[in-house]
């Protein structure tokens, strides 16, 4: 099996461990991942204004690159890229006038876009194409006794109709099922779809610290030892902003936040280089060592 891959900006620096762990895991699962030879930033946020077509050009150009790579679907890892690409595609697919105007504007592109590329999140691909049963068979290092809280944030599930297909917007369970098949104890917690504060982290880190305190404390109360995410902005806010969180809320206790793919790669037997724990701000190694996983 082969899939086109759109990484997005942050997967190439702060979230390099998200990419590396995914690539190693996919290799173990026999999926050939082919990064687009050319891509640009997706714009990170979907433009909500009715008259703002300009900002849909960036995601649509990426979908053109997918077509030019000879593919009709593309995989993303970052929840924000997933949202932007998928929603821009839905927008112009359902609005022929916007589609025509966008294509007119991009007249220098050699390929016309017709809304004919399917945007898939890695979790969707693992569930529907690779299948969870097959992944379970390939687990070499089951994550025994590790209590994992699964944080979805906003864009894996919202808005309705754009988030992961087949998942309840208020109570998604795909990540819990996924962590269970890797051998971990999946912990449910009430803040799993609550916004982390997103880009407020740039000039209002105190807003993010308040959310991080609430979200992670809630996970800890349910017994979680680590939290997994699928968005580099959630990862930064819940992991790196623990520094500010501890300053503002002295009773807060640090906990490791990982990409779900780091645990997948670990369970499939990938090496240290692919796991990239050095990029995690709160070191996950002590708890993983304690469980005999590394």
């Amino acid at each position: 099996m082969k899939i086109s891959y759109y990484p997005g900006c942050t997967l190439k620096n702060n979230a390099k461990n998200f990419e590396d762990s995914t690539l190693c895991a996919m290799k173990q699962l026999g999926v050939e991942v082919e990064e687009l030879s050319r891509w640009n930033c997706c714009g990170t946020v979907y433009s909500l204004a009715t008259d703002d077509l300009m900002h849909h050009l960036a995601p649509i150009r990426n979908l053109i690159r997918v077509k030019e790579a000879g593919s009709d679907s593309v995989m993303t890892l970052c929840a924000m890229c997933y949202n932007t690409l998928k929603r821009a595609d839905e927008r112009i697919k359902n609005d022929p006038e916007s589609l025509e105007r966008i294509n007119e504007f991009m007249y220098l592109e050699k390929t016309e876009y017709k809304g004919d590329v399917k945007v898939l999140h890695l979790l969707e691909l693992l569930r529907d194409e690779v299948t969870f049963e097959k992944i379970a068979e390939k687990v070499k290092n089951p994550l025994k006794n590790l209590k994992v809280a699964n944080y979805y944030g906003c864009f894996l599930v919202r808005p309705r109709g754009i988030g992961l297909p087949g998942e309840d917007v208020e109570n998604p369970t795909i990540m819990e099922k996924f962590m269970s098949l890797l051998g971990a104890d999946a912990v449910d917690f009430p803040y799993k779809t609550e916004c982390c504060g997103a880009y407020q982290t740039v000039d209002k880190p105190e807003i993010v610290a308040e959310r991080t305190n609430q979200i992670l404390t809630s996970a800890q109360k349910q017994g979680a030892e680590v939290v997994v995410v699928s968005c580099p902005l959630c990862a930064f806010n819940l992991d790196r902003r623990q520094e500010e969180t501890v300053q503002l809320y002295p009773e807060f206790k640090n906990m490791p936040v990982l990409y779900f793919t780091q645990l997948l790669a670990l369970a499939l037997g990938c090496g240290e280089e692919a796991l990239g724990f050095d990029l995690n701000y709160i070191d996950p190694k002590p708890v993983l060592k304690e469980k005999g996983l590394i």
């Binding site: 997005g8 900006c9 942050t10 620096n13 702060n14 979230a15 930033c41 714009g43 990170t44 946020v45 909500l48 204004a49 009715t50 008259d51 703002d52 900002h55 970052c78 924000m80 906003c154 919202r158 808005p159 309705r160 917007v169 208020e170 779809t193 609550e194 916004c195 504060g197 997103a198 880009y199 407020q200 982290t201 740039v202 000039d203 807003i207 308040e210 959310r211 580099p232 902005l233 930064f236 790196r240």
Partner: protein, 135 residues
């Protein structure tokens, strides 16, 4: 909060502009408050999401344009998901922000961020905050 309402204000072009930019029918809102009940950002807001819709319905643009709340909303889409009338509240708030941004009234002055602050955050954070807070 004390407000003066008038027919003149309700007919202010501002109301129409918000409806156009957001693609929403403001009068569909019957003020159930579900958006505010589920909003994770209310603790930081001076006015609540349902009040934003009410002020927009009544054309009380100064109260809206000067509010802190419109910048605290991070478009997490929880309110949109829960509105029983199918109103996209996040889109309404985006419209109000855009009315200011399109007059070049930026909320974030990138130059004022220190080199350290800029270097610490990942590209995804910087780009999204510039997309939401600058013109």
């Amino acid at each position: 909060m004390r407000v003066n309402i008038s027919r003149r204000r309700i007919k202010d072009p501002f109301v129409k502009k918000v409806e156009e930019l957001s693609g929403q029918n403001l009068l569909a809102c019957y003020q159930c408050g579900k958006c505010s009940a589920g909003c994770p950002a209310v603790s930081q807001m001076d006015i609540l999401p349902n009040q934003i819709i009410r002020l927009a319905q009544l054309g009380l643009k100064e109260e809206l344009l000067e509010s802190k709340a419109i910048w605290v909303c991070a478009s997490c889409m929880t309110c949109n998901t829960r509105c029983p009338k199918g109103i996209n509240i996040a889109e309404v708030i985006e419209a109000v922000r855009l009315i200011l941004l399109r007059k070049s009234k930026d909320h974030l002055i990138v130059k004022e961020l220190s080199a350290e602050e800029r270097a610490q955050v990942p590209p995804i954070a910087l780009i999204s905050s510039m997309r939401k807070f600058t013109s």
